[in-house]
């Protein structure tokens, strides 16, 4: 999908040379249409053999019985060693204690920040806890005035709020993922912290559409902290003016008390259960999972590999911007693994936006979220109850 779909074609000749008899055909999909097309392919019995799947989609395709369980194959594999993978990422592919995918690359969120502006406010290191972060934001706001901000939390993205919410001990969904758990103390603390950043003027109540060019605004100092993902390392290097190149850095996310967790995002490689060539499909996955191939893949795309071995060698070991990601990856958690999650995450964003605009209090927003999540999960509840009863 997307760039990965183009780049992976350059790895095919080598695979076909070492695996005579296997021929690989790549069909590229744009990310924006991928989900829809795969569901349509499933409905029309035209699923591919191997596919890159966003790891939040895995539960949905497992619910469709579209994916092959891979536990046996991993146990027999000399290439894929689960212990070498970051635990949080591996876990995203495990549904009801069966494995349905092998992590291909990782996407997580952490802080990108302006070192110079932070130093101007009197701090020489990024925040480790929420309270440290608040102090910094307050000091920076005092310096920056009303027209500039400490942090950009775009209201059309659910990820910044979600990663802060995943840092709490209570899960976001309760009862085997059949009910919302947003009225828990943990989530309310996160939401209060999030809303507070807007109330105090640390964050502007804007969407990405209002900030016409993130990199220009970051260079201008319109905001100093930005929660975003690994693809922006390359973008920041490319798009920020040369004079600023020494003044930005990445940092792991601060947590409620000490270093915090982030989300275990990314893509996995899966085998569809309708495939007729599962053995060949598995060999291709093993090939792509070799540390040296992953290393090449990183050089080609900038995507972060899911294996510790790959991180210890090659270009990644020396990349200062990737260091924070390496650190963060030891602390990542999957989003709730239910097919309805994307929709609940969207409601999370919509309700949080209303809270930021003062239309709902934190308590009201949490109650509203639980109500919406429970409505969305109604079918899942009834199916599970039915299955349990019969």
């Amino acid at each position: 999908m997307g760039r990965e779909g183009e780049v992976v074609t350059t790895l095919i000749p080598e695979f076909e040379r070492s695996h005579p008899g296997i021929h690989i055909e790549v069909q590229g999909l744009p990310w924006s249409a991928a989900h829809e097309k795969l569901l349509t392919a499933f409905a029309g019995d035209a699923t591919p053999d191997v596919c890159q799947l966003g790891n939040t989609w895995v539960p949905e395709f497992v619910a469709l019985h579209a994916l092959e369980a891979l536990d046996e194959r991993v146990r027999g594999s000399s290439v894929i060693d689960p212990r070498d993978y970051f635990a949080g990422i591996w876990d995203t592919n495990v549904i009801d204690s069966n494995l349905y995918g092998v992590p291909w690359y990782i996407d997580t969120r952490l802080l990108f920040y302006r070192r110079d502006l932070l130093a101007d406010a009197g701090f020489d290191a990024p925040p480790r806890s929420w309270s440290e972060w608040q102090q910094m934001l307050a000091a920076m706001k005092a310096k920056a005035g009303p027209d500039r901000f400490g942090v950009l939390l775009p209201l059309n993205e659910f990820e910044p709020l979600l990663v802060l919410a995943l840092q709490q001990d209570q899960p976001l969904l309760a009862d085997d993922g059949t009910r919302g758990n947003f009225e828990s103390g943990g989530f309310k603390r996160t939401l209060a912290f999030y809303v507070d950043m807007f109330r105090r003027g640390y964050a502007p109540p804007l969407t990405n559409a209002d900030v016409s060019n993130i990199w220009n605004e970051f260079a201008r100092g319109y905001f100093s902290f930005y929660i975003t993902g690994p693809w922006n390392i390359g973008e920041f290097k490319r798009r920020l003016p040369p004079a600023l190149q020494g003044s930005w850095m990445t940092a792991p996310l601060p947590g409620p008390s000490g270093p915090g967790t982030s989300i275990a995002g990314g893509s996995s490689l899966v085998v569809f259960s309708k495939s007729h060539v599962k053995d060949a499909a598995w060999q291709w996955i093993e090939f792509l999972s070799r540390p040296e191939i992953q290393s090449r893949f990183h050089d080609l795309t900038g995507d972060l590999p899911p294996r510790r071995t790959t991180w210890n060698e090659g270009a990644l070991a020396g990349d200062v911007y990737a260091r924070a990601f390496r650190d963060q990856l030891e602390r990542v958690k999957p989003a709730p693994k239910v097919p309805e999650w994307e929709r609940i995450a969207t409601e999370l964003r919509l309700v949080a936006e209303r809270a930021v605009h003062g239309q709902l209090t934190v308590d009201q927003a949490a109650a509203e979220l639980d109500a919406r999540a429970n409505r969305i999960l109604e079918k899942r509840r009834s199916l599970l109850a039915h299955r349990g009863g019969s």
Binding site: E60, L64, N156, D210, S212, E353, K379, L383
Partner: protein, 291 residues
């Protein structure tokens, strides 16, 4: 006999309409009484027949009423503005004093044929809070800047301005054709009777243009009820759901979340609503015509 002979001639058309229109509509109606979703896609035994529950739940959801309110806002403010702009420009293009008519006609029609996405991107820059030309213009006459696409009070007006700009050219051409078909003798007679320009407009132009205006009104109302693409590319329904239309809600429900059952229910509610409103419009117009 003659009737029987007609059937073979209309049969191909009927078959096409039946297969590609009535059958899908019927299927959608059946679907709207079920909870078809991805679980049902996996295994049809997960499909539950839920009767009118989709409809009842829809009418209880605040998102639906919000979307309906936004759609009505768009129709009630947008249709008169749109037709007003079309009529105004058509009249200007029709007057004898206007020069370079072909140029203006083409220029004013151009928005209709430009790609919606491309023009939306340009308009997003015009609406930009800090660098947009619109706020620059406001600032130069001493008015405060407006957060057009970020403030829920101004997002819908911004969408309306964009939609009117995008669509008025089409109706303008129809009305211009209508104006050109009004016989010059009528104006001559009115002038001999000493009618002012305004009275000529009210007593000659408007009545003669009525059939055209009625058609334009019906088409525009029906078109504006189906608001979707403008908010989809400009605001993605935000801020604060202030630009989510009924059709947008249906799209999300159906193609984003694969709840095809409840999406079909949304479609039928919108259909009934538009059907009723068009029926009322037609009745008014017939009454106006017989009077």
């Amino acid at each position: 006999v003659r009737q029987r002979a007609a059937w073979p001639f209309v049969a191909p058309a009927l078959a096409v309409i039946g297969v590609f229109f009535f059958l899908p509509v019927l299927a959608a109606l059946v679907l709207s009484f079920t909870d078809f979703d991805i679980y049902a896609l996996a295994d049809l035994s997960n499909l539950r027949f839920t009767g009118v529950r989709n409809y009842v739940e829809l009418l209880q959801r605040s998102e639906f009423w919000n979307a309906l309110g936004n759609t009505l806002y768009f129709v009630i403010a947008g249709v008169p503005l749109s037709i007003g702009a079309s009529l105004g420009t058509a009249l200007l293009l029709h007057t004898r004093v206007t020069r370079f008519k072909p140029f203006f006609r083409t220029a004013l029609f151009a928005p209709v044929v430009t790609t919606l996405v491309a023009s939306a991107v340009v308009w997003r820059y015009l609406f930009n809070t800090r660098y947009g030309w619109l706020n620059y213009a406001l600032g130069s006459i001493g008015l405060p800047a407006i957060d057009w696409l970020g403030d829920p009070h101004f997002s819908m007006p911004a969408i309306i301005v964009f939609a009117v700009w995008k669509n008025f050219g089409y109706n303008m051409i129809i009305l211009l054709a209508g104006l050109q078909s009004i016989p010059e003798e009528l104006y001559e007679a009115a002038r001999i009777d000493g009618a002012s320009a305004w009275r000529q407009f009210v007593y000659v132009t408007l009545p003669m243009l009525m059939p055209m205006l009625s058609m334009v009104a019906i088409l525009t109302v029906a078109g504006y009820f189906q608001l979707f693409a403008e908010p989809y590319v400009m605001t993605q329904g935000g801020p604060l759901q202030s630009t989510v239309s009924v059709l947008y809600l249906m799209y999300d429900e159906g193609f984003k979340w694969w709840n095809l059952g409840s999406a079909s229910a949304v479609a039928f509610v919108l259909f009934i609503l538009m059907f009723a409103i068009t029926a009322v419009q037609l009745r008014f117009m017939r009454r106006g015509a017989t009077r």
